[in-house]
């Protein structure tokens, strides 16, 4: 039985891969292997995108290595395409696991013509209508009040959808976070808030972020249950998120889940030498020992269904090949032209934008760039 407000994170599997409590029946070896495959794919996606960054083919990337269990586990706990998700900027693994096509993610990171967001946002800020994966904003925690509103609309419409809203630990310091949590609580809206507590907001540690011992206990202030889960244990994440989502869907109001995890890499390419400046190698190593993918491999070994080195290598090779192919395909579509600047500002083009568009059209056809 999953309980809120536990003093320690809920876990099912220890770091050495041994179960610490009976595994629910649904986690058959096949299911576990599939989850392992998804996490490994996401990890390799990270690796390849970092390579693209180094090659100068994209300009920004925020890796989620180390956080795969949290994001894949969450994706597997909701009804994809039925529920709505207001994500934050480190959620591409969540997107991948929800079935957002890899080519859409890559196209967005490259800002090509195949980008469904039309090259308007910095890399790694995608949106996917089919999955109800709402557009990512860089403005921290600004998705939280809209997520509350999305859930309020679901309640108003009488649908059995829920709204999922994710954020990092840093977001919980923003006014918007408290406003959105309070609103959802007051409205008893079907919202599932998931804190991907990876312990660092760029270079500010969770200890400097809040005097609160944990994030999940803040749920008390908003009249909702707060669950504390080992975010590197995918079984625990799925059990807790599925339980919380079920409660939310059943009309018991919103819930907060804190997934305790770790960002193994830097925040982004902007602080690639994190260990030099704000955290220790020892800390990173200690968390690497709790790695979610390794832990699941150890569990599979323990259960007598090990992932062979060949299987692992084949999966990695397949992901690399797929990313390479998608990158070439995306790049072949070219960059969106200047016209995209004016579209989608409003539903229709108002006169002042029509005039500015005409100005730019004339400038472009005369071959004069604005930057000359």
């Amino acid at each position: 039985m999953i309980q809120p407000f536990t003093p320690e994170p809920i876990r099912f599997v220890a770091e050495d891969g041994t179960p610490v409590q009976p595994l629910p029946e649904r986690f058959t070896p096949d299911v576990l292997r599939e989850l392992h495959g998804l996490m490994l794919q996401a990890r390799e996606f990270d690796r390849k995108l970092i390579t693209l960054l180094r090659q100068g083919r994209t300009t920004f990337y925020a890796q989620s290595s180390g956080m795969e269990a949290t994001q894949v586990g969450l994706a597997r706990s909701i009804r994809v395409g039925h529920d709505w998700v207001w994500p934050y900027y480190r959620d591409h693994t969540l997107g991948l696991a929800m079935g957002v096509p890899m080519d859409e993610l890559i196209s967005q990171c490259l800002g090509t013509n195949s980008d469904t967001c039309r090259g308007r946002q910095m890399p790694h800020h995608f949106a996917a209508r089919r999955q109800n994966f709402v557009s990512i904003s860089s403005s921290i925690a600004s998705q939280v009040p809209p997520a509350a509103g999305n859930a309020m609309a679901q309640k108003y419409l009488g649908v059995d959808e829920i709204t999922v809203c994710t954020f990092g630990d840093g977001a919980t310091s923003e006014g918007d976070w408290h406003a959105g949590m309070n609103m959802a609580g007051a409205a008893q809206a079907p919202a599932l808030f998931v804190c991907e507590n990876n312990q660092w907001a760029i270079s500010t540690s969770i200890r400097e972020q809040t005097a609160s011992e944990t994030i999940h206990i803040k749920a008390r202030a908003y009249g909702m249950p707060g669950y504390y889960v080992d975010g590197n244990d995918i079984i625990a994440v799925m059990e807790v998120c599925a339980h919380a989502a079920g409660q939310v869907r059943a009309g018991h109001g919103p819930a907060l889940v804190e997934c305790l995890t770790y960002r193994v890499g830097s925040h982004s390419n902007a602080d690639a030498d994190a260990e030099k400046h704000y955290r220790t190698r020892e800390e990173v190593d200690a968390w690497l020992a709790r790695d979610p993918i390794t832990r699941l491999e150890k569990l599979l070994e323990h259960l007598g269904h090990p992932v062979s080195a060949e299987e692992r290598a084949a999966l990695i090779a397949r992901t690399h090949r797929e990313v390479d192919e998608q990158v070439l395909r995306a790049e072949a579509t070219g960059q969106p032209d200047w016209r995209i600047m004016f579209e989608d500002v409003y539903a229709d083009l108002p006169d002042h934008l029509r005039q500015q568009e005409a100005f730019l059209r004339a400038e472009q056809s005369a071959g004069q760039g604005g930057r000359a």
Binding site: V134, S135, S137
Partner: protein, 339 residues
Amino acid sequence: MTATQDRPEMTPMTSGRTINLIQAVTEAIAEEMERDSRVVLFGEDVGARGGVFMATAGLQERFGKHRVFDTPLSEASIVGAAVGMAVRGLRPIAEIQFADYMGPGFDQIISQAAKIRYRSGGQFTAPMVIRTPSGGGVKGGHHHSQSPESYYTHTPGLKVVMPSTPYDAKGLLKAALRGEDPVIYFEPKRLYRAAKGQVPDHDYTVKLGEAAIRREGSDLSLIGYGGVMPDLEKAADALGAEGVSVEVIDLRSLVPWDRDRVLTSVQKTGRAVLVSEAPRISNFMGEVAYVIQEQAFDFLTAPVGQVAGFDTPYPYVQDKVYLPGANRIVAACVQALNY
């Protein structure tokens, strides 16, 4: 096109009623809620109390608590929730009790409401209306009297509206609610009960982006919007008594705004005086002045005049001194006429 077709606000009404501006707001909301079940209304105290100005009086009783409800005292929540509701398919009307209190909701307005269509490539949109009383003249001090419209006219993705008559208040609000974009709808609070006028009995809308010519004239174009409009009329009367023919234009809508009507007028009169009560630096009227000098420079016989609020926080005691009254407007017009 005839003059009356072109200017629906001047169309003689065969059947209509005289109401004040706040009643027009209430009627617009009620009729749109009746018409479209996706329309919901919320904010601080809008429910049982009917809003601090009573703009939403009786609506909760009529439409139920699920459609008209009070929220926590949090502008970020109110605006943000409206964004989420709109994205999920409702037509929210969010009331912010005073425009001065939009600060905590600012991030939600500029980061979410204004940009979600653009940044998602049109995959997600937020058609919604934020209604808020603004402007001075009610002895409210600086947190109940400001005119912050220029913050919002500066943000692409938002439409910004401010009516000054019951006809426009009703028609613009209905149009805003039927549109596909987020609209900031400023209500000049000192005109809530002071502005009275006819509205037709039938359903109508006023298109956003069209200015209204309140009176025609040939010597000078006097251009304003919102709470200052009665002062423009008074100034035009005073100048008229001296034999000066003033054309009075009410912008009604700031984004988009009616360049054509303004330029046509200035090309006819050769003089323009722009009036608003917002502080002068980065005042929206600065943009209007720029466009006039850019597009109608050869027609001008005098520099474009501007009457604005002072660049101070809004003063409580000197409320009436701060606001551009008819005298100050007349003085600016005389200066332009004597140039």
